[in-house]
Symmetry: C2
Subunit: 248 residues, 2 copies
């Protein structure tokens, strides 16, 4: 749904997106309306920093469209990407349980439109509304499983296998023997998301090409034989293809 930026107090896109996110699943319309009334909508440019690790948290966010990276920066300036969020993803809400301080930084990697919601309202409502608390627990638990699988991948899979996994998760469910997928963001960011240096990423791509598993044209990657890539990748994983555990 296209959504224009407005300073008016009513945004049709906010209604639509709040009702879609798992946090508000099964929650009364009156409660969703309360969050809607307190929401701000912002359109921001690529590069905009929303918050820095250690910042006091006043807002949590839902992405309407665009891409936002969540990352932690080391003292010597390297960056570890914790997550990359897009349409319908919620982030920043965990600060609620960390003395209202953000545990990571958030920056736009593409132009994006965001809904900002007050952390204080979430805090007060969770204590009173068990459905909201359960939704939040379910969401956090899913995220925990996803992180557990990432730890598994970083521990056990080599770089070409991690790329294979990333590509297979972009495959449509009805992919046949051969499938073409589009990288959702630029290659440097894909590399960082997979915990690789750009040169490791390039070498790993070359290896997948060398083994005739993929062909690359710009941001499009053709998986030459889906079954072969599944064997190459998923035999080294605790999940089987198609994978439900980990979204990109």
């Amino acid at each position: 749904m296209a959504c224009t930026i407005s300073t008016s107090p009513h945004f049709p896109c906010v209604d639509s997106i709040l009702k879609q996110i798992p946090l508000f699943s099964g929650v009364s319309d009156a409660l969703v309306a309360q969050f809607h009334d307190a929401a701000h909508v912002r359109a921001e440019r690529k590069g905009k920093v929303l918050f820095i690790q250690g910042d006091q948290a006043k807002w949590f966010y839902v992405v309407v469209h665009g891409w936002v990276k969540l990352f932690r920066e080391t003292i010597d300036g390297a960056e570890a990407i914790i997550d990359i969020c897009t349409h319908g993803h919620m982030f920043g809400e965990h600060a609620l349980f960390e003395d209202e301080v953000h545990g990571c930084s958030a920056q736009l990697v593409e132009d994006a439109q965001l809904v900002m919601l007050p952390i204080s309202m979430l805090k007060n409502t969770i204590a009173e509304n068990s459905q909201l608390a359960l939704n939040m627990l379910t969401g956090m638990s899913r995220h925990r499983s996803k992180q557990a699988q990432e730890i598994e991948h970083l521990s056990l899979k080599n770089a070409p296998q991690r790329i294979g996994c990333f590509l297979l998760r972009l495959c449509p469910d009805d992919a046949g023997e051969r499938a073409t997928v589009h990288l959702p963001y630029d290659k440097t960011l894909v590399a960082a998301r997979l915990g690789m240096k750009p040169e490791t990423f390039s070498r790993a791509l070359a290896r997948l090409k060398g083994e005739s598993l993929i062909a690359i044209q710009g941001a499009s990657v053709t998986i030459c034989n889906v079954d072969a890539l599944v064997r190459y990748t998923c035999d080294h994983c605790s999940s089987t293809f198609p994978c439900e555990d980990l979204t990109s």
Copy 2:
């Protein structure tokens, strides 16, 4: 507190440990007593498998003493260690939010005594008791931060730095210039916990010794110069020493 195994319905160690764990913080004595009455206490030997990834979950666990590893096994038989739990740690409860199926396997790596509590009681109580739900959310959020830092370490730190981090977290708060720490479990398990093959672990230890940062005698490791190891390790991290983010 020493705890004898008993088949009687009252275990003093259960009272004591349930009151210690964050899940029951600020919760009424009556509710803790209800969980106590439904608890089983088990003493198990090293090697015992408590549950397998994919098993239906009836119980969650609290460790009284000993060590339990949580892991995921890949199709080709490799093992990724997700966590290693000891005194006061709770595990298995996340199955509640995953259709009551365990998302990882659990096996004793040392003899251990465990309290088993019914998942169904947790499920029913969380929906009614907001304090319990909030405690669970806080615990899950801490775990999520810990996993985010592990993803950062696996992405950005080399093997000697990851070992340095593990050793520094074993240091007492009042460690001076030089400190001796004891590995809490065997070296193969430390390697796996840090996402390394045993040979990588040995090479990384040799490098730390070669740079005169540590000296090793059996399961004891002397950090020859704490400040130097902090510079070597923590400059490549988003947290500073002493580190509060990640417990071993």
